[in-house]
Amino acid sequence: MKIEEFSSDHLDVLKELMNIAMGNATASIADLLQAFGTMHIPHLTITDMDGLKSQINHTISADEKYYVTKQLFGGIIGGEFIFVMTDESAANLGHYLYDVSQPSDADIMDAVIELTNILSSTIISRLTEELNTKVQFFAPSTQIISGNHIIGQDETLNYHKIIIVSTEMEFQSHKISGYIFILARDETITRLRELIDQKLEELYA
């Protein structure tokens, strides 16, 4: 499909639904951390792989190490949820969740997976619920990698035209934050547009 077929109204709807989904996720994480999370306005872009790499390079430092969790989802709409946390944020999370001053590497990894699981399931489930559909989640995987390796061979092969939804999770009091990227596959863009059109029809009825 042509990018022009995804109008500013479609983007506005998707951004608002993402905002609602992110609100739910922030509240769940706030309960987990017993802290207040600052909400950020989600950014939506329709782009290609070069645009994705450029956006990630703009947000993430190429040489720094990150905990990167990726989770695929599929169904009427499909794509990939990517959560990126700095070493420092991940250590702070491990420290808080395990209540130890020096969490082990395994503790930190476990804490990151737990947090990402809540984030991805809450955000994607709420987003799809608002679009009157549902998705299936696949097992997530977490790696410690440098910023310039976040986008790997799999993404390069599987995505051509992409909707990127990016936002930030931020709990300042605990010095825990992370970046969220949701990639929607080529065919999903068309399905998303159809689901959003239904939503708009209801609104204008």
Binding site: D12, N19, A21, G37, E130
Partner: protein, 119 residues
Amino acid sequence: MKFLVVDDSKLARLSLIKTLKEYEPTAECIEAENGAVAVELFKAESPRVVFLDLTMPVMDGYEALKLMMQIDSNAQVVVVSADIQTQAQVQVLALGAKLMVPKPINSDKMLGILQQLVF
């Protein structure tokens, strides 16, 4: 009756106005896409009720709420937000909001708001 609807999303504004008009068909609705525009409209138009989002560009809802309450300490501001954290609710109520309602707005929520503030 005049209502000010403040949200950076056109969909959210349309949806709220549509729901509002189910109960107040003659409602006059003024729209603002951020807090800064909202504060100016609030000064100029003196709306009966303000529906205010929190997460917006230029000026967020917290700042706009503070300024509106400075202009009129009796302002009837309803925060309509995706931020459903307890602390966010405590904060906006402390700043002077009359109610905080989680997004998305629907007929039941709107009826509850109007029953408390208008009818």
